[in-house]
Symmetry: D2
Subunit: 352 residues, 4 copies
């Protein structure tokens, strides 16, 4: 890439926004030229407006950048990464798309729209094509492409490897989700010390829908939801980063656990996704220890982009049980949106 | 009760042993006359031999009691509470039973024996009758009666209310278990801070077996396992006390969630169990908030003996989802064994 | 007491307000007749307006009480407990005092006023007399009496025992404070998991001032600050309740550590304080183990009202080192204000 | 360095041993050729003998290395890193030194010997010269050089900057120490969840001695302890890595806080230490935020080798207060020993 593509980060001061800034530092294709935030931050240097909570220090270029308002009048990049809350994304993201910005969004606002893809390049790269329908139908020069909620992310990668090999009939999944998934300030410490919160608002519905959309087929420019049953319980636990999901799965055919292990460990994802800068290496790491994956030890596998699967074993009712771990703010949020943007560029769809 | 029944606590210095001592303090029926522990503690005052880890102070009578060896030659009470590890329980508990001691055991060693009941008085009080078979078959004057592992405890209470009303076909359960379940010193702090451990050794097999035994029928002096499918994932989380279980359940008939709610909230258990000193009041507390039960807030409900159920809602595949919470070292361990002993006395089976 | 004194709780829905409600449940002298909160709660039942975070359930009488505005026009009790934030307390508490309400306040707003006592009945009960000066000078029928910040509380009780016996020249103190001290929602969980925050805003100044005021002498109706040097560092740690303070102290005379131990263990406080309903029993518990006091194990000593001291040992520079623990929302906040109100009543100063 | 120096790690399977393996991976000067452990691991591949607890994966070269016994007969490298427990180090380390191995030790066994240096190259590099006395006196071809306990490490670096500029008269220090400092399994999780342990066995004596030895002068081949008073309280808190120390310090002369800030921020350490591969860059990072340093955010500063200082402010009794943070298993243990070995090589003292 001779010249880097200028990009913006919308809502750059929050916890996901900070991850965008961190992960875009020295990105080989993209260069951040604009950071936006809410009114009270506009006009300040990012380094002053932002209460940085990541352990890597804030990049120097970011610290000195002046915060812009989150408005298409102020930001004219071909690509923007959105860490906006869903209610604001609802009105702001289309305004950017209309003016020609491709919005790679972490927000849930448009995930249920039939012409908006929910993308995991190592799972359903071909869904990127809906962008054409989207532009045509909505008269946009840009687009909105989304990544799934963080709990669906790793789970769908693991399910994809299994579904492509053997087909899936039913999945029961129970999450134990990290605190960073709730943003900042997020969960009060008094609520989670020595505790579990047995609900994450709206998350179960997202998991039950988004997995089926991503694993569905593209038919005539729209997506048919995958035809399997899925039931989710979602919980918050005292973990900083890394969502752990226990899953029991029924396959469409009976196979040995060993075959499932091979399908997971050897999974590569669509060819177009494999050499992108943010592609996970490996896509899936299958662990054989009886007590892995663990968020503290395994979340940074493959720079936080790899899906880690362990405890693969027979299920006494269905076919198999497993545990899936994925870094919720890297693979499951900012890193995922960036990976999607790379796919958009590689697919030649950055320009309408 | 005019005169209290003298009782012993076997393995009294460990975390469950301490709970026995605490819960037996001022018990209306039982009086602790013997505390046993391993060789290096024998002969010392309990207050010196025991590294007390509970927040209530050690009872004064216990502090001054001299620790005895865990041998039937040294202890001759009609009733003993066992907090022994499974491998030691295997040889020691029968020796006590043979000499006439009724061992109310928290150990797993004999739970799979067909003539040894796993008891939850509010669930299967009638299983106490197997003690007669046990004595006859083994030639014991005493007996061994067990309580289930701590994860099965609350789950089985909740399932019992549902099973008796509507029948259960299938249950998927995922636990998030407290640290005290692993004893002391138990889980190293470095392993659980900012972490989840996605396995508790041997626990899944116990849950998948013990629930079916307790909910099974007593036929001709032995227990037929209940005829439902059950699949369990078990996890360790950073919680001190209180096991949380997410469950998805398929019933034998379709009913409204409201009916299930009534069955749970109104559940009373067998009549014989209701007025025992340790009987939970209420047996089940059904909570309607979207984020309960939580271990920190709900584990002490009914002095730690009540099973707390919440988030009752339809399951997209089966019939219902719910979350069950139970205090693992009170209802799920020491308190459960004491409750069982009360049932034994009330049933008139203390004497062979 | 033939008839209970009607009392109000101001700002009853916050974390300290909830403690007031809990601790006033079945109080032998006081009966809660009014609960106030901010505008968005006014008119609602307390049970609905309040997100209850304590482990004991909300008392039934409180759940059904209608929340009132925090205004003297709406509340006319002779006694009110204030859990107001300092900035609101500044204007609201004098308005109540003017109309005849005695405000026992947990707020810092008036602690630095020379005619407002900071009271710990087991330390400086005689300071209650400044209320007379206060009423005269300000023309109030009621009064404002305060309890110290939660970090100063246990520390001052322990220092008082030492000061009265031997005199204190210098104290270096470092706190490790619980999360509940920051209110609710308070400290974000992402900020404290696997972390220490080496500052609690404004706390060091409070500790350095309030200890000297409480340990000072009442001279001509006003308080002379005690004449010792004190330096404080304050930190936040991942503990739910219970502030731990490490202290190094120089005495006015050289004494054996054993004498200091006796002074601490035998400390009783002024006679008027000893039989009040909330009086700690014992005032100070001195522990001899090498690893106590610990917040999880010791904070509920004496129903959370006792100051626990441990690790008493020589200091290589000054005279002694010790560790002091006190429950920050019971002895250090709501329980302390109630104890102060009891002293006011007992002193015959409830009426001007 | 044309050819790397072969080195051994003694007690390589424990938590500090693992850090040695991790930090020596791709070290520019050293190449690990031997890993030792206790009898039950000898003969196994390291990858199998070691329960790896670090988040970076075990280096492949280490996984395949066969574990050797910790005996000079089995290991003949010129340099060995010791993570041995103190009681074993006592007999084993001299045996290695006698045969010609230079033991860079993390153990406390020999720190109090007058001819054994406790080294922090950025503080007292010149103390390396005692090795000559040591060899002469003991007739060793090798040597023992130690790094201080982890709590003294960062504290001494910060104190060194201040002492060299202004002199120190008195220091009061209180630590809040991480769990990894206790090794593995170390602190039971039940002991630290929602808790503080107000003692770390033997640590206070170490801090009060080792700081004075390191900041002392080398006079006639032996070290005179520095002439200041120091008093330490040491505590364990729920933090994985990173020891935080609050310090109040009296200087030998009155200076402005601003001058102290300059002395800290500009501190460089002895010239010989500056370009060593493990030299911290910067030596000290001085932070100006009111709530830093924090272990979670700051422990990895300078790859875990930098001492982070914050909250520099006047002390109401002495001259200044500050908070010091240092990574206890990197700078305070394995990384420190490696840094010392680099100094030994650079000083030309590897060979007797």
């Amino acid at each position: 890439m001779e010249q880097k593509i200028p990009v913006a980060v919308l809502a750059a001061t929050g916890s996901v926004g900070q991850r965008f800034v961190q992960l875009l530092d020295q990105h080989p294709w993209f260069e951040v030229v604009a950071l936006s935030a809410s009114d009270r931050s506009v006009g300040k240097p990012y380094g002053e407006a932002c209460h940085w909570i990541l352990t890597d220090p804030m990049p120097a270029w970011a610290a000195n950048m002046t915060v812009l308002p989150t408005e298409p009048e102020a930001i004219h990049t071909p690509l923007a990464f959105s860490a906006l809350p869903a209610d604001i994304a609802l009105s702001v993201e289309p305004a950017f798309a209309a003016q020609g910005t491709n919005v790679c969004s972490n927000a849930s606002a448009y995930r249920r729209e039939p012409d908006v893809p929910i993308l995991l390049p190592e799972v359903n790269a071909e869904h990127i094509d809906i962008v054409k329908t989207q532009r045509q139908k909505r008269g946009w020069k840009g687009s909105i492409i989304t990544n799934p909620n963080c709990t669906s992310t790793g789970l769908t990668v693991a399910m994809s490897a299994i579904q492509k090999a053997f087909g899936i009939r039913i999945a029961f999944v129970v999450s134990m989700q990290a605190l960073s998934g709730a943003g900042y300030p997020g969960v009060p410490s008094m609520d989670i010390l020595d505790n579990v919160i047995p609900n994450v608002n709206g998350e179960e519905q997202k998991v039950e829908f988004e997995t089926r959309k991503m694993l569905g087929n593209l038919v005539d420019g729209s997506i048919e939801l995958a035809d399997f049953g899925i039931s989710a319980h979602t919980n918050r636990v005292a973990v900083s980063d890394g969502h752990t999901v226990c899953a029991s799965i029924e396959l469409q055919e009976r196979v040995e656990i060993e075959n499932v292990a091979q399908a997971l460990a050897g999974y590569q994802g669509p060819e177009i996704s494999r050499d992108l800068p943010s592609a996970p290496r490996p896509v899936i790491q299958l662990r054989s220890e009886s007590d892995r994956p663990q968020p503290r030890l395994d979340r940074m596998t493959g720079k936080g982009m790899t899906t880690v699967v362990g405890r693969l074993r027979p299920d006494p009712i269905l076919d198999l049980k497993m545990v899936v771990l994925s870094h919720n703010t890297i693979r499951g949020a900012a890193g995922g949106s960036i990976f999607n943007a790379e796919l958009l560029v590689k697919s030649g769809l950055l320009q309408a």
